[in-house]
């Protein structure tokens, strides 16, 4: 009898531990934790470009650390190699991420008075992901470049 009881109880324990329902509930609780302005990366890009084509370009120099030990403070620097004249200038620099709840970090509208297409800030990254700089030129074309950042400790709570 002892042995039978023991096996029974063992089976019950293992059944509870592996029950997919319990795991699903945990995942759901995680997914429910949402910020006020959550937007996916694809939706954010569409909102900015309006469905226009975005070309990969090496004109943009994006400086981010390869490995960020603290995801709460990740320095991002964007430099655009493009003239800043009255008729031909960098109109906007958008800093985006691919996996945070809210994919947008900052939209910077520049004017020819800036003299150079440059923007730097610090962002939070929740997990290992890509930081993307999407640049709008004054003729209405979009160029972008992205770099992945390895995050060891997430910074988005």
């Amino acid at each position: 009898m002892k042995r039978r009881n023991f096996i029974k109880s063992m089976m019950a324990v293992s059944a509870v531990a592996v029950t997919p329902v319990a795991l699903m509930a945990k995942d759901e609780a995680k997914a429910k934790k949402k910020g006020p302005n959550d937007l996916t990366f694809e939706a954010a890009v569409k909102a900015i470009t309006g469905g226009k084509e975005v070309k990969e370009s090496d004109k943009i120099k994006l400086t981010v650390p390869e490995i960020a030990e603290n995801g709460a403070v990740v320095p991002v620097k964007v430099e655009v190699d493009h003239p800043m004249e009255e008729a031909n200038y960098v109109k906007a620099i958008h800093v985006l991420n691919t996996k945070n709840g809210n994919a947008r970090c900052a939209d910077v509208m520049l004017t020819p008075a800036n003299g150079r297409g440059y923007f730097a800030t610090r962002v939070k990254l929740g997990s290992t992901q890509e930081v993307v700089a999407l640049v709008e030129l004054s003729d209405g074309t979009f160029i972008k470049t992205g770099k992945s950042v390895k995050v060891t400790i997430g910074g988005c709570g």
Partner: protein
């Protein structure tokens, strides 16, 4: 939130002439809460509180406007370039999602 937030405008490099391109750094002490983190003391979720609009202007003329979200770090730092047109004043206005408004300015004194 009656007291003014600590903020700072830095011009780099320190010596510049008319026509030079300088870096304008703006730093402000702000919590930038995402609305996801629990307060350790009370156990309640802190409401979202972040800067959302920033305007850099020179003598009243805006030259850079930014829209910012909570994904920017605590005590944020924003840096842009600016071509010095002469003597004047750089002003940075910022508002956050709770409607708080603040202004910070610094004089530009190019050495010719």
């Amino acid at each position: 939130m009656a007291e003014a937030r600590k903020s700072m405008i830095k011009i780099k490099p320190k010596k510049y002439k008319t026509g030079d391109i300088v870096k304008v750094d703006f730093i402000v002490i702000h919590p930038m809460d995402t609305g996801l983190i629990k307060d350790k003391k009370t156990g309640k979720i802190k409401p979202a509180h972040y800067i959302d609009n920033i305007t850099f202007s020179f003598d009243g003329k805006p030259f850079t406007t930014m829209k910012v979200w909570e994904t920017v770090s605590t005590n944020p730092y924003f840096s842009v370039n600016f071509k010095v047109p002469g003597k004047g004043k750089i002003t940075v206005d910022y508002t956050d999602n709770t409607g708080e408004k603040n202004t910070k300015s610094k004089k530009l004194k190019p050495k010719d």
